[in-house]
Subunit: 123 residues, 2 copies
Amino acid sequence: MAHQTVGHTARPGLPDDPRAGVAAPSPSCPVEVTLAALRGRWTTLVVRELLRGERTFTELRQALPELSDKVLSDRLAHLTGAGVLVRSRRPGWPPRTRYALTPRGRRLGPVLQALWDWGAEEE
Amino acid sequence: MAHQTVGHTARPGLPDDPRAGVAAPSPSCPVEVTLAALRGRWTTLVVRELLRGERTFTELRQALPELSDKVLSDRLAHLTGAGVLVRSRRPGWPPRTRYALTPRGRRLGPVLQALWDWGAEEE
């Protein structure tokens, strides 16, 4: 009501939040790490497919028919580098390479859900 | 174990999920809507500042000292267009324009939390 002290007040709800320390964009900021993993057209759709289970390259192409081989290869390499998925080679003949989410990759499920929920809301 | 029928099997866990229908990147996909709102360097940091309360332009600049006036103006315009924040002009003299999150903008809190949590995890 009267004077407010600004600058040294505690931040309600954000007491020891480490986000308080991020004052400029940084690739090591956790929010940036996640956004970087999800970056690129098709990336979230590839993750969604793999949340349903392991897939071969061909199965991914069938699920996303407008996606080119080149872009799918790029996205799979990107997601592998981000620790989201792994290639696994099944023994036997013919050899079948499958792509599967890592445990970390499966934890993108709730992240995609949060992104979906916000975007699906009425404004 | 034996033959698997592929293609017409129900998707366990995703029965009526509307995401099933998104087969190509689309700006109207809710995930894309949210990622588009958060796009751009500094954008998430500006939202974080406003999650702490209304701010004037000058207060935002002080909280993010490496952010230039031009980029801050751009980000505020972008977030206004995305329905995340509104400008409010307080009556009185001198006039003070403040930036505040809309209810929709405040609901970005859990989204940023989900992005943070995933990126902060050990791989």
